[in-house]
């Protein structure tokens, strides 16, 4: 878990944003009256949650770019 801890900022921010999206889509939206506002809140919450997951990916990608040794030739995840 060393790499996750070293990159904690992105993991925490990503999870927090995703959780905020879930709250918006699953808790706030159902309490609104049916109509455009409810649909928009649902969709915005879903998008926000996906942005949170994207942020985690970006954090891992940045960690990888920083850790890359000079002169190597390709990026390969674990087999």
């Amino acid at each position: 878990m060393r790499n996750v801890r070293a990159n904690a900022r992105f993991w925490i921010a990503g999870i927090a944003i995703a959780a905020a999206g879930v709250v918006l889509a699953r808790f706030l939206a159902p309490s609104l009256p049916a109509g455009h506002a409810r649909l928009c809140t649902t969709v915005s919450g879903q998008l926000l949650a996906l942005v949170g997951l994207g942020l985690i990916c970006v954090g891992v990608s940045r960690r990888v770019s920083r850790a890359a040794p000079a002169g190597s030739d390709r990026s390969e995840p674990d087999a």
Binding site: M1, R2, N3, V4, W11, G14, I15, A18, A19, G21, V22, A25, R26, L39, T42, G45, Q46, A49, L50, G52, L53, G54, I56, C57, V58, V60, S61, V64, S65, A67, A68, P69, A70, G71, S72, D73, R74, S75, E76, P77, D78, A79
Partner: protein
Amino acid sequence: MHFHDILNVFQGITTLLDSPWSILVARLGLMLLGMVLVYLGKKGVLEPLLMIPMGLGMCAVNAGVLFLDPVTAAAVTEGPAAAGAAAAHGTLMMAPLVQKTDSLMYILQVDFLQPIYTFAFSNGLIACFVFMGIGVLLDVGFVLARPFLSMFLALCAEFGTVATFPIAVAMGLNYREAASIAMVGGADGPMVLFTSLTLAKDLFVPITVVAYLYLGLTYGGYPYLIRFLVPAKLRGLKMPPKPAVKITSDEKLTFAVVACTVLCLLFPSAAPLFLSLFVGVAVREAGLNYFVSFIDGPVLYGSTMFLGLLLGVLCEASTILNPKVLILLILGIVALLLSGIGGIIGGYLAYYFSGRKINPCIGIAGVSCVPSTAKVAQKEVSKVTGDAIILPEALGANISGVITTAILTGIYVTLIPLLT
């Protein structure tokens, strides 16, 4: 012995002659189509793992029709046995439309594939097993290494899944049916099966059959689309080398846990799919080798075989004669074509925004037919420039495509009931 008794010995032929001409033609046509599928599967033109059991199932179900005894006929039709009425035609394979508990219990003891259909197919379990197998084969590290490129291409390659929906509505399908057939654009069989079982149970047989038939064609058809839309000079473009780094299995496992939890919270209706996919990923990344070999062996291949067989057996003449099937055939190919075009447009955009460094062919890999479309992209590039390697980037887009298609399934399954 009378001539009538001799005909009763060969009931497959007698029922054929006893059928209305439309059923007769459809049964003969489907038997022929089944044989063609087996042949094309053996030749490698279509995916043999699915097409051989499916083709044989189509031949058998349309050939093996017999006069049902009154009790079985009553259970299949869920009505009282009509005395003196003409004997109903049917098979001893499966009765997918039976709903009543008593009839179902009777049919479970008569039709040999009914237990698999009832307990594994109609509840989406078999789709989830296939998805679990896909999860074990996926390396999410390819996505984590290049998140922007992978997600962008995957989103572009969902063009068909999104654009087919309004086209289908304009062609007369309701929202639920339109969303189910639009999912063919995601090029992921289990997802189409799951969506159609959830949203359009009446049409799930033709939709799923159309999807699997066309998915078999992606391997043969997409190379022509690439050659048509991407000139040879761009197809042979070598991408700049990237530094060698490792995404650790801890990171991949943590991502799988977070993504699974968030997506299940967002789309509970598609939670079985997300759980199946990410449990495969988690098992792989946790290094549980006994589970990995169980899931990517008996579970994946067993499910694929029974999926093919059951889809074939579901292709009865009466099902295929539904007038909506022609619309589904057109929309299925439109969805896949639009997704392929969307993916390649994404590839072109990535090519221009990256300063002409990214090979546009990887766009087709955003269509989530894992790993066929990534292999197709690499094959087409290698044909022009033998030593150009695009597979890691293509696999990133490909795996991102699976996750994007699962998310779109969740969106359709969640939002369509709200719209209707």
